[in-house]
């Protein structure tokens, strides 16, 4: 079966219902759908195990922060790839900042382990069921999640910090 955005979307909607698969759009040829926390694990499992789809390669995953968006403040993006059909799909899950908790994908994909640790490290997402949800690139003692938009980069023109060796 040739996978197209229409028939994949049709299959997903008939499996999970229209109330769980929201806002399909196509920004760059890769269909992007939004789903909720309850569905995401089953959806990724279904895409992986379905004989016709075989969307069984987790290409990448990352967090995105939209400050001041209420229930849609925190976003996790999963991008999957069917190597058999050369078909890509992107799935987003939005969470409020007060409850950034999602199920882990480590039981489906070994690679999700460090990707989820990265999303935890930089955005503070909690993945329930993750075997070792600790910081990965930043130091353990860090008290905040640095990719959140409320932490700006240091102002390059500040004058109170003088470094003898590197100028400024």
């Amino acid at each position: 079966m040739e996978l197209t955005n229409e028939n994949v979307l049709g299959k997903i909607i008939s499996e999970f219902g229209e109330e769980n698969i929201l806002e399909p759009y196509n920004p760059d040829g890769i269909m992007t759908i939004t789903t909720n926390r309850e569905t995401i694990h089953d959806l990724i499992k279904y895409l992986r195990d379905d004989k016709e789809l075989q969307i069984s390669f987790l290409t990448t995953m990352c967090g995105i922060h939209y400050p001041g968006q209420g229930d849609k403040e925190m976003c996790v993006m999963y991008q999957l790839h069917s190597l058999r059909h050369n078909y890509r799909i992107r799935i987003k899950v939005y969470r409020p900042a007060s409850d950034p908790v999602l199920p882990t994908m480590t039981d489906l994909y070994a690679t999700a382990n460090w990707m989820e640790r990265e999303a935890f490290d930089f955005y503070g997402f909690i993945f329930t069921g993750h075997p070792n949800l600790t910081r990965i690139l930043n130091i353990e003692e860090m008290e905040y999640h640095p990719m959140l938009k409320q932490y700006p980069l240091e102002d390059q023109t500040r004058e109170d910090k003088i470094n003898t060796f590197f100028g400024r």
Partner: protein, 414 residues
């Protein structure tokens, strides 16, 4: 460094010892060995705390992030032009691939079509970068297994590749090559001459290198069956590039989703079967030959035409015009100051980097900087399998496995 003795009390470890034919009765103490962060054999800064039973590795805990420079955060404050130098510093063994991958992502967002000549020049530079990347990886693999000669032979050729970079963009290692919309300048007669010379000279050098290692008894003994991974596990771990192809999966972005006119060229995708260190070595070796083939084709059929797209809003005007015409001066100023807004959009573009699928996920909210730029770094994704690959092997094998995975610290930590 710090070594401490610990008795094997974990049942998991006992189970492991049983699985690997080790005695579980005697309470032999395990040794904790700190491999890294600055160890001459790891070729980069990463730490592994190993639990050793004699020479056999029982468990490993990797620590990464020693050269994390927050590129994704910095990219949210930089205009699109100023992000290219950040990409140089990811996989610094093949920076042109990173640069051009990023440029192609932005071009996809802006909807710019690049002329054929620029695409061919890009292909030549990207394949040269792939050769220099694979050349380092395979020759270092030789060094780690005790053969220093090959490394010195081919290192000279890397210098010649860097001479070509220097002629094309002025820099050698962190190249910042090309522009959004094409190349910054055309290939000069000297650059063409250097590429031609390289194509003549390099095959002999590489054949000699292969002759030294490929059927070398010691090398085969050291690498066959070391650090092997099955295709299923490799896919689950998100392997891409030569490391995935060594397991027998023929996934290559250049063929699957051709970019920059890769579909114009004839080349083959080498695959291995066992996914061990030796197969990874063979796949990289063969890819060097295929890259040479691609460069030859692109060099011979280099089309005439412009070396950059006609996109005055995003492509820096020539300096001569900046000094003489007002429009060019305005565009120059706006581009350099980052005052040009990109359209709203969301794109993903991936290229076949030296180590696998190098992806750029870019969200633009219509401002002068990306709203979010995520790098899919192949090293970061497959390095997590390292623990699994070295368990049950010996320490010396772990070093070879690390070299053959070609983990580049800059790309791992970004």
């Amino acid at each position: 460094m710090a070594t401490e003795n610990k008795t094997a009390e974990l049942t998991e470890i006992e189970q492991f010892r049983k699985d690997h034919g080790l005695s579980i009765k005697e309470e032999r103490p395990l040794t904790t060995l700190n491999l890294g962060p600055t160890h001459p054999a790891t070729h980069g800064i990463f730490q592994n705390i190993l639990q050793m039973d004699g020479e056999v590795i029982v468990d490993a805990v990797p620590t990464i992030g020693y050269i994390h420079r927050a590129f994704e955060k910095i990219a949210e404050r930089r205009p699109f032009y100023q992000i290219t130098p950040l990409t140089d510093r990811m996989n610094y063994c093949s920076s042109p691939i990173n640069n051009m991958g990023y440029h192609m992502t932005v071009e996809k967002l802006l909807g710019i079509t690049v002329p054929k000549r620029a695409q061919y020049i890009r292909v030549i530079m990207m394949e040269l970068a792939r050769i220099s990347d694979h050349l380092i990886c395979n020759s270092i693999l030789g060094v780690d297994s005790g053969a220093f000669t090959g490394f010195l032979y081919v290192m000279q050729e890397r210098e010649h590749i860097y001479d070509i970079y220097e002629e094309v963009c002025g820099a050698r290692l962190t190249t910042n090559m090309g522009r959004i919309g094409g190349m910054e300048r055309d290939l000069s007669p000297k650059a063409l001459h250097l590429i031609g010379e390289f194509l003549k000279r390099f095959p002999k050098v590489w054949a000699e290198f292969e002759k030294m290692l490929t059927r070398n008894r010691i090398f085969i003994d050291r690498t066959v069956g070391v650090g092997a991974i099955s295709a299923e596990r490799a896919l689950s771990y998100g392997f891409t590039g030569p490391n995935l192809r060594a397991t027998g999966v023929d996934y290559d972005v250049r063929v699957m989703n051709p970019y920059s006119s890769y579909d114009d060229f004839e080349f083959e995708i080498p695959v291995g079967s066992k996914g061990d260190t030796y197969d990874r070595y063979l796949v990289r070796n063969e890819e060097v030959w295929q890259s040479l083939k691609i460069i030859e084709q692109a060099y011979k059929n280099l089309p005439e035409g412009s070396y950059h797209a006609d996109a005055p809003h995003y492509y820096l005007p020539p300096k001569q015009k900046v000094y003489t015409s007002m429009e060019a001066l305005i565009y120059h100023f706006k581009i350099v100051m980052g005052e040009i807004d990109a359209p709203v959009g969301e794109v993903y573009h991936s290229v076949e980097g030296g180590n696998g699928e190098l992806g750029f996920y870019l969200i633009s909210d219509g401002g002068r900087t990306p709203y979010r730029l995520h790098f899919r770094r192949p090293c970061f994704i497959y390095y997590q399998s390292y623990t699994e690959l070295i368990k049950g092997g010996q320490l010396a094998d772990a070093i070879l496995t690390l070299s053959s995975l070609n983990v580049i610290a800059g790309e791992l930590d970004a």
